[in-house]
């Protein structure tokens, strides 16, 4: 469609400036101090939807941060696509590792550097601009709804109630999400699976106060030592997870699926060089792509205890803490694994200490069927703009609300992500290639076209 491409070319700079304005709002959902920024960001998203051509757009308050809903209904009897995204971002810490301010977007080497540039402001905003293109070129053949939430990075605690309370409003034929990566612009791919998540925080208390490590050292358990032993025991010498029952519900991938995954290009030397490691680590018996795609994992996301400042302090601390999360694959249940994790942590704690484990958030693993209309439309759209058929891959990340959408709305999801694994998601210097941003805006209108044709 030459007119779509023309419209995009003519409006490129404005499309970028609008995204920059969104990126400048520090919408960090995990931190209470950003409550007002969250509201400001939701209002901005609503405004942009209306400007892009939505018939209506509204900010819905929730128990947490608000949800933005918008829609363009051309004809209720036509197919409807529900676009999901999130306007909240991860905390920007550690701040000293950013080369430029996390909320002061800049272009460097053809990349947009800012927190949220890829995850997910830069990606959901492609859909807002695709709507504008379709509306302004009078070529929209289906209905589009938007559900842009503000709590994805903290586990979407309020979205369940919102979806349950607005089933009619959200009614659609498929859900389209851009919140993941493709292999590269040369090798397009579509995530057909997302891992689930269990996330807990552990507090180990030894003595009731910080002690002098000389006066008490050797006579009372050190909570850092005890916590370390508990963490060390989570993996065996083959890096299998040792928690009894952890793998019980894991669907073993078929040889066929493993062969399909192996089609994705992978160069171990480059992978290691990019990460700066001499050796890779992982569960024995699986490839790197399998370890991040079809196998469940446990990661330590944070640890702290005792004196962590400059210089030395001879303290035997009272407490030590860790943030621990598991990535899950079909058919593991987030609730079941969270309970297993907590039970394991509490039961392996020796009597020297008190251990409290609390739940942060979770989400179920998800799979998109290759024979769904949504997958077919996405594959055809990408083939059109990339000139190559995309490879189906299993993503390592989690979009916890997928299982919720499927359960409550009874529809399938397709993940058409345009980020790159190297985009520093959740890390300092998060980035999003300009080329990927524009390629997404170019591709999405084709998804709508093919979805309404195939449906």
């Amino acid at each position: 469609m030459q007119s779509w491409k023309d419209y995009l070319e003519k409006n490129k700079d404005r499309f970028l400036n609008e995204l920059f304005d969104l990126l400048r709002i520090p919408s960090v959902s995990a931190k209470k101090e950003h409550k007002e920024d969250m509201i400001r960001c939701a209002e901005a998203v609503k405004q942009r939807l209306l400007e892009a051509g939505a018939d209506k757009a509204e900010v819905y308050p929730t128990a947490g941060h608000p949800v933005v809903y918008g829609e363009k209904i051309i004809d209720p009897s036509k197919p409807t696509v529900l676009v999901y995204g999130h306007y909240d971002v991860q905390p920007a810490e550690p701040l000293d590792l950013w080369h430029s301010g996390p909320f002061e977007p800049v272009i460097k080497d053809g990349k947009i550097f800012a927190r949220g540039s890829c995850d997910d402001k830069g990606q959901f905003y492609m859909h807002v601009k695709a709507l504008e293109i379709l509306v302004k070129t009078n070529s929209l053949q289906n209905n589009i709804k938007f559900c842009i939430e503000g709590e994805e990075e903290v586990g979407s605690p309020s979205l369940g109630d919102f979806v349950k309370g607005h089933k009619e409003l959200l009614k659609a034929d498929c859900i389209l999400i851009s919140d993941s990566a493709l292999i590269s612009l040369d090798t397009p791919s579509i995530d057909i699976g997302m891992r689930g998540l269990s996330y807990i925080e552990v507090e180990v208390t030894g003595p009731n106060r910080d002690l002098h490590s000389g006066v008490y050292g050797g006579a009372v358990a050190n909570p850092i030592t005890i916590l370390s032993k508990m963490i060390a025991s989570l993996h065996d010498e083959n890096n299998h997870i040792t928690i009894p029952g952890f793998y019980d519900d894991v669907v073993v991938a078929s040889d066929e699926e493993r062969a399909m995954l192996a089609r994705a290009p992978y160069n171990e030397k480059e992978y290691k060089e990019d990460l700066g490691v001499k050796e890779l680590w992982g569960e024995k018996g699986f490839t790197t792509n399998e370890r991040t795609g079809i196998r469940p994992t446990i990661e330590l996301n944070g640890i702290w205890g005792g004196y962590t400042g400059e210089g030395s302090k001879t303290v035997l601390p009272s407490k030590a803490f860790a943030k621990i999360s598991a990535r899950l694959v079909p058919n593991q249940s987030s609730e079941k694994i969270t309970n297993l994790l907590i039970k394991h942590i509490e039961s392996t704690a020796p009597a020297y200490v008190n251990v409290k484990a609390s739940v942060h958030h979770g989400g179920e693993p998800y799979m998109t069927p290759l024979n769904s209309t949504a997958y077919k439309a996405a594959a055809k759209a990408m083939e059109t703009t990339f000139g190559k058929e995309p490879i189906p891959v299993r993503g390592g990340g989690s979009i916890p609300i997928c299982a919720l959408f499927e359960k409550e709305l009874g529809i399938k999801i397709v993940f058409m992500g345009f980020g790159l694994d190297s985009d520093n998601l959740h890390s300092p210097n998060e980035k999003y290639n300009l080329e990927n941003y524009y390629k997404g805006i170019e591709t999405i209108p084709y998804f709508h076209k093919y979805f309404s044709e195939l449906k």
Copy 2:
């Protein structure tokens, strides 16, 4: 000596107010931001020595924080006691656990609450006030020198050069130190040994940047997990330290010495209740007093890595850190153990990560002979004011400069401490009982009297 006691009674309030003024100076040697406070504190100590009756007092600059020297020489042919103490204090963190400001001393339930109240401002200042009593009551029979340093809490890096460069100035017949605890006012005791110290910091680097734990989790080593495994391997199932060669130079205590140590009152139920723990931890085959007195230990003083803020962040961190220290007993060498620790940490690190271990500070273990004049004078002084013979005990803490003093000046040290183990040294709400402060000021003049008589 009724006149000493009278003088103390008449000047009690002033003696306390003067200490409060010193406690209000945040002389934290570990932190660069307190450099000016350190100089201010040194000047204040010098001024107080002169006011108390010293013939001269001077602030000596060093490569680090200054040393305060003062003296009262009545006759060079008489015995000379060198009083050592330190005006620097530990960092006050974690600040939120203090009931009142760490540098705003208050009296509550008969106790002085402030950072440094016991360790060591409150204790070295007893010696300044004892000098005042002896001078003002015209009863000083010996010479007194003072060496009050500002880097004890960071391992006294500059004191070695100062002592080596001022051997004549510091020449004395014994060294008297109040920087330790007694069992209680009802059960006086004297520390006859101090443990040595090795203190290192470990930095474990996995990937070259923080990663998304979903995208990379399972395929690259998590530095927190690896560090935890390294920490977990430091102790075996009997809580013996596993580092090869660690115990090689430990002098095994004789049955006689173990019997003497067992004379110190110890109530396990009360000990556990005070610490709020259900079970004690420690090296198999030794009692609690032995574990903290005659056995070497390894403690984790701090650990940190990844996201440690509010809420959750799904990051696979690039780095994890730990502060690790060992307490040493005769005849372990601090340098040798530090090297063993570093070698062990570096050699047990798997190829998935890079490990850097750096040295913070150290100190040698020390023993005071029971047959030394200094020990006898201290025991007699305490017997006079407490009405009971003190018990000799082995202290768990470290005063790293003891071995240096003995080596450079060739004289013996006696530890006449007036603190309590429960004084929250190095912890929030550090305190020093008013009664102990005054009992120290009452006892010290007797030490000088008996030392000059016995010498």
